[in-house]
Amino acid sequence: MRKWTLIMLVALMGLVLLAACGSPATPTEPTAAPPTAAPPTTAAPTAAPTTPPEAPAEPTAVPVQEPDKRTQNLEGEKITFYHFGDLSGPYAAITGPLVFGMEDAVKAINERGGIRGATIEVRFADTGGSIDEAVAAYDRFVGSDPNAMIMITYGSGEVEALASRFAEDKIVNLSAGLSAIGFYGPESGYTFGLGPIYPDQFGLFLDYITANWATIKPASAGDEIKLAYLSWPGAFGQGALTPKTRAYAESLGVQIVAEETYDLSPTADTTTAILNAQAAGANVIWTNTLAFGPAALMNGLGALGLKQEFVLGGCNWAMDLATYAFVSDPSLAVGLISPFPYLWWNNADHPGIQYAASLFEANGRPAGARNVGYLMLVTGVDIAVQAIEKAIDTVGFDNLNGEAIYNALTTMGPIEALNGVVRVDYANGVRAPQQAQIRQIQGGPDAFNVLQDWTQMPDLRP
């Protein structure tokens, strides 16, 4: 009898708890289904709304302040930028500079008076490269701030895992993890890229090599382009190889003859993968890796004496100073071809690059951090600030939220972040830049020279 009383008591407690698990609703006011598609974009922009400012992140427009909404003089207010990435795992080499770029850009904006007077606060969480940790960090941020409106992420895996949450919670995510699924998956919508998605990058590379094969092909190669995809396993490493890119390669007459993976480790042995690629008749190698990833391939090609047998291409992250930290001989990096969706530190007369360089020096960052990550995040903060300013003008500071920033981003038209260091237009359902240059390493570090100027990339969105 006592046992049954106890069971009934526990069951009753369970029911009470279950009943308390949410707020009851009636069918008369149905709750919207969770988003299954990208939120609709508003009308396409008609013209570029702003002229790039001299000091890129400084407030530009001075709109007339309506009595019912605060758009100016926001002193004492705070806007929080949340970001999380891998500072203690395999991607730490690239995340460190990304974080520096973010912090320095925000610090400079705050020193200039913030966003219309509101101070930007930065909160960071280390994920250690684990998706589990990334979701935990997200939960932590959202749990501590009911009006979390913007987050910056750095990993493809994180973006893919969190895309539906960003859309559901209406939090804008600016991401350096350029996963196509993260941006354009069925439950995505609020995730925007700071660089082009990997399939588009791969497509642009394929365009370039097919158009210029006669001049760039290795001496031993024939007229047929045979590509080996040698990369890391996982969301990032395999991010460029989608059904659409395969079909696109086929349409260009490029055969993908080998697909090999190697370890996500600075000491990875790539010789087996390279020899398999050679055995399959490949004359082009593409890698979707960064820092020690392309370096491992370069070292492998050097060790095997096969450097001259392949055209080596990689995603934007491959062409970076971080690669030089791991390559055994700098000359092994010469010849790498990459889509390059931003300007570079050696464009020293460009005001955006000068601005980034001044931040870098003013904050005394280590030389190793002067790389793509730092530049991309200074640019990313500029995009975020432009969008927030537009959102404040539209809805007022008191109504500022993720949805307002989303609306601002998608209606801003062409954005030339940091005066054109990155070019992007998030209108019409496009959520990542679609313009890039093609560059090649033609000398020592920093000699990333332009082979092809800004070009519209092939649209290989899933």
Partner: protein, 374 residues
């Protein structure tokens, strides 16, 4: 060590002799603890709820490993791979086949169990390090398969998005009950376990069931047979214990637990791919078991809790460490998590090789023997 009972705690019936929770105050404490856990979202900050959620899932995976390694003495480094199997099965059943999560969860466990059986086959012929190598192969084969087979279904290395668990109730008297909301598309009232505050109820529910099952396995004929295999397999065989069958049972049960934990993880993360859990996680699970105490039902709970909390500590410490030593960012801070884990493991192996569970037993015994305990 001998089980020390409080003075006056006698067995008055066979039921009482078998009881795990023996005293009324113990029942009251247990119910209070459960109440505190289930109502956690109402008083604890969201990050804490999220953390408890992760601890809960880790405990389930380690409970499985405890049956295999702690009770049966078979070392496995494939637990995370079996989690991947469970995660994929549940994701496909719910996402592609439209099953209810609550039906898919046990099926994911059974599916992972069957895969675990395959990797348990070498256990009859090999032991110790060789068995570690055999189970390690699961950690390479299974992720490789998820990346390369049925790309249209498993989506290769990108993995698949996993739906949020839901349950539906009919609309009664034009009203939705039990916290559900009306879904016009389905025409029913739906409850979505979308946030950690909601998902934790599933995790805790499964954790309670998994703990009861693990507890009963260890107290049953099966558990005694497993322990005999661990302690002396030759003697066990001479006593009539079928080594092969019992080792396979242990592998099956461990993989079922891993599969269930994997399904929970996948639905909690809403995404799974070949790298969601990996070799490092398998090693961490083994470390959690060592820290908590092998062959004890309390061990997985204490070990997983401590190690996940240490991971959390490393996450909290990394940014200030990077700010303090900017030139070492991404270098020294990268080592923080493995450093703390390794340090804890080393200290336990030196000072308390029987784990936290044994230390807890000692504390309880000392408390009951007070003031005579040293």
């Amino acid at each position: 060590m001998a089980v020390l009972r409080p003075s006056g705690d006698f067995d008055t019936s066979y039921e009482h002799d078998l009881a795990v929770v023996r005293q009324r105050w113990q029942w009251a404490l247990l119910l209070l603890l459960l109440l505190a856990l289930f109502t956690l979202p109402y008083y604890a900050p969201a990050p804490t709820v999220s953390l408890i959620n992760r601890i809960g899932i880790a405990i389930i995976a380690v409970q499985g490993l405890n049956i295999l390694t702690g009770y049966t003495g078979q070392i496995s480094l494939g637990q995370a791979a079996f989690m991947t199997v469970g995660g994929y099965i549940s994701a496909l059943l719910v996402g592609a086949a439209g099953w209810s999560f609550f039906l898919a969860l046990p099926v994911a466990g059974l599916g992972a169990g069957l895969v675990g059986l395959i990797f348990g086959l070498p256990s009859l012929r090999v032991k110790g390090f060789y068995l570690v190598m055999a189970t390690l192969s699961a950690q390479f084969i299974i992720p490789w398969l998820t990346r390369h087979i049925y790309p249209s279904l498993l989506n290769g290395a990108q993995g698949i998005n996993v739906p949020v668990p839901t349950f539906s109730l009919p609309v009664i008297a034009n009203t939705c009950f039990l916290g559900t909301t009306f879904n016009a598309e389905l025409g029913t009232c739906v409850y979505r376990f979308a946030t950690p505050s909601q998902f934790i109820h599933i995790t805790l529910g499964v954790l309670i069931v998994s703990t009861i099952v693990a507890l009963n396995i260890s107290r049953s004929r099966l558990g005694r047979a497993l322990i005999s295999v661990r302690d002396n397999d030759l003697a066990a065989e001479l006593l009539g214990v079928n080594l092969f069958a019992y080792k396979l049972k242990a592998f099956f049960i461990a993989a079922v637990y891993a599969g269930v934990a994997g399904a929970l993880l996948a639905h909690n993360l809403r995404h799974i791919n070949s790298q969601t859990v990996g070799l490092v996680d398998s090693i961490m699970f083994m470390g959690m078991l060592v820290v908590g105490g092998l062959g004890s039902n309390l061990g997985p709970i204490l070990g997983a809790t401590l190690v996940v909390l240490l991971e959390e500590l490393a996450t909290v410490l990394a940014p200030p460490a990077a700010a303090l030593l900017p030139t070492l960012a991404g270098g020294a801070t990268a080592a923080l998590k493995p450093l703390l884990f390794g340090l804890a493991l080393m200290l336990f192996l030196i000072f308390e090789p029987r784990g936290l569970a044994h230390r807890w037993m000692l504390i309880k015994a000392a408390w009951r023997l007070r003031p005579y305990a040293r």
